[in-house]
Symmetry: C2
Subunit: 176 residues, 2 copies
């Protein structure tokens, strides 16, 4: 089951390393810019369709890129000073003040999408939605038991069927 | 099968993006330092034990870190200017001139190793060697059919059982 392995890879190779350090990056950001975010959690977007754009603002004009946090550097598997970077977004809403937070899509969903397009990968388009759900459930279980990550993330499952027609579905889901 | 999905993820989310750009990074490196490498291929190390150190030189004193290539920056899944970095190593041998090339371990093997240590991941220590072999075979098949990556990589399977006692097994395998 591809989604199961990708959820573990995403946790062991990324979330377990980055989430505990995020608080320190937010502190450095405050020291440099005097800016405090509305949420210190890592907001992780999981579209059921597995359609992942390169930039978050393509999906909702109430969201715009603000700034990157300071880089995290680690020696990993022979790569010297491999860099882990997270992006701050500003979410605007006609009635309230802008909401600043760290947001990104779950990158392994790109793999699920592309595998379903390559006939040699053994993974059909029909499987995709099921695999995204399996990825979400596996990841949620791992994170709930993770001492390093507890309470420092927000998994956001995005249902494209519910979103249809609502240009601000994404920003509303993030702020919830 | 975890290894199958990790091989596809490694190809679709990393090798397919980075290998085609490597030649250009080597050219920039030459423009900055006047240095040409002995091989322009990406040397990918796959230890059957799945034991992946943070630094390559820990394994063999004939190998030392030389320099990083210029960063590759891409907008990926909401992370602005995500950085992909590759490291050049210098391999020395008593009889020949130093051999410069780009080397790294296959990062997904770290996931295989750590999954085998977590009882909730459903993956035992006995499974590990088999899964590394499956990862290697799947990756080799994908890369052989890849127009983007053809002839620009070198997969190096490392047998810890054969290596035992030979402090320069790794450097010999890379230069072959
Ligand atoms: N050597 C190396 N250098 C890299 O820059 C790199 N980037 C990815 N990979 C490996 O390729 C494959 C596909 O990557 P993807 O981004 O889909 O999943 C990644 C991604 O969802 C997340 N992740 C890792 N690094 C970052 C990062 N810097 N920013 C955001 N997400 C990241 O965690 C997953 C597992 O990462 P790794 O376990 O390091 O191995 C990956 C993976 O096997 C890399 N391998």
């Amino acid at each position: 089951n591809v989604a199961h392995g990708l959820a573990w890879s995403y946790y062991l190779g990324y979330l377990k390393l980055v989430i505990p350090v995020l608080e320190e990056q937010l502190r450095k950001h405050y020291n440099q810019n005097g800016e405090i975010l509305h949420s210190s959690r890592l907001h992780i977007l999981l579209p059921l369709s597995a359609v992942v754009p390169a930039k978050v603002e393509e999906e909702d004009h109430n969201i715009c890129f603000h700034q990157n946090l300071p880089d995290i550097q680690l020696n990993r598997a022979g790569v010297r000073n491999r860099i882990y970077k997270n992006s701050i977004y500003k979410i605007t809403d006609n009635q309230q003040e802008p909401y600043y937070c760290v947001v990104e899509y779950a990158t392994p969903l790109l793999t699920l999408y592309q595998m379903s397009q390559d006939s040699t990968a053994g993974f059909s388009k029909q499987d995709r939605r099921q695999q995204v759900l399996l990825f979400y459930r596996t990841l949620r279980q791992i994170l709930e038991c993770s001492l390093e990550c507890r309470n420092r993330y927000h998994l956001i499952l995005l249902d494209d069927q519910r979103a249809d027609g609502d240009p601000h579905y994404l920003s509303m889901e993030i702020i919830k």
